[in-house]
Symmetry: C2
Subunit: 221 residues, 2 copies
């Protein structure tokens, strides 16, 4: 039988593949940092390499393309961003606590991860021009929407209300607030950031108990 030999070869091959994948993610992380710093338009492969411990040639050893590299970096971003409010949802036992923790986390990540967030908006915008980004962008946006919907539906549950809008509407409205707060924050307009922070709890109430209730209150469609 060749089984024993194959498993041995497989082990070797798998270890090599793992190492290969390890370097890929390592370089993807360096790419992510460079993109967050410079934005898509001004990020070059040589600049990415300088933010890693390798030279620029190695990027074409691990990635076929610049597109391949950036796509991988975007996927790295997703892993970081998409579970941001899960602890808030899991750890809250009252509506007031959930609302407070959500608002705090919202503005904490706004300030702490501002470069990463502006990168996301940059890449999402690129997908409006470059079709090859669209698939990944839409998938990440779905996950972000689901993340927000977990907050909204849990808040409705705890407060005894019903969501007032669809999942997608809830997400994009809160995302609009986040984008504006990000722009204000990076522009040093602290007063406006504070105003939005003060107003966000009221918006949350608007989205779950205000006005006519959203017809289909169940999840995605």
């Amino acid at each position: 039988m060749t089984e024993a030999v194959e498993t041995k070869q497989d082990r070797i091959a798998r270890r090599q593949v793992d190492k290969f994948e390890g370097r890929r993610t390592q370089l993807a992380v360096a790419t992510l940092h460079t993109l967050a710093e410079l934005g898509y338009a001004r990020t070059s492969l040589r600049e990415i390499a300088q933010n890693s411990e390798f030279s620029h040639g190695v990027l074409h050893y691990y990635f076929t393309d610049k597109r391949d590299l950036i796509t991988q970096a975007v996927r790295q971003y997703e892993a970081v961003c998409v579970t941001r409010y899960d602890d808030v949802v899991a750890g809250s036992t009252t509506a007031e606590q959930l609302r407070r923790d959500f608002v705090n986390t919202f503005f904490a990540t706004l300030k702490a991860d501002a470069p990463l967030h502006r990168l996301w908006y940059d890449l999402r915008n690129q997908s409006l021009f470059d079709e090859s980004f669209r698939e990944d962008v839409l998938e990440i946006d779905e996950h972000r929407e689901a993340m927000i919907w977990r907050v909204i539906s849990r808040y409705a549950e705890l407060s005894g209300g019903e969501p007032a809008t669809s999942p997608v509407a809830s997400y994009v409205m809160l995302d609009g607030i986040f984008q504006r707060a990000l722009l204000s924050s990076l522009s040093g307009m602290d007063a406006q950031v504070a105003q939005l922070e003060e107003e966000l709890p009221r918006v949350l109430d608007l989205l779950v108990s205000g006005g006519t209730q959203f017809p289909q209150a169940t999840g995605r469609e």
Copy 2:
């Protein structure tokens, strides 16, 4: 007196200045179209010149910089975009009519001017990385906010309600819906665009009559 002579020279000089400014706006329009087509990251001066009837060298005769040129193009955009709902506000006599006309205009320009809108979001995002764009972007965003607030406050007036959020919150929430509808539209996800269109009237009601009323109902602060 030299007055007669000066007015004559002035006439000549003014005509030349007018001609100069005319070319500037003409080239700024060509720039706007190129940017809307390719996005900021892939727009080059030679590409802009090809979309005009001149050669690439002439751009440095009328503009000092690439930045100067793009800034001028952005200002061109503002003139087009910022009065979009004024007719809707002026021509509506009932809340129902205003709501219907607003939603229709909202999705009409979404589809008709999609390239222009994605350019705006592209440039607004650039300002997150490039400080030199921020001033113009913030000014345009203020005008857009004021434009939306005219709709919201008029709708509140006609419906006998009060705005439920601040001007900035109303604007960014509706803008979030617009961005998402734009992405969905460009991605061919017509069902989602239709869903948002169907939901927008309810969102509008949420923003003026739903939940607790916004404390300071007057204009900008």
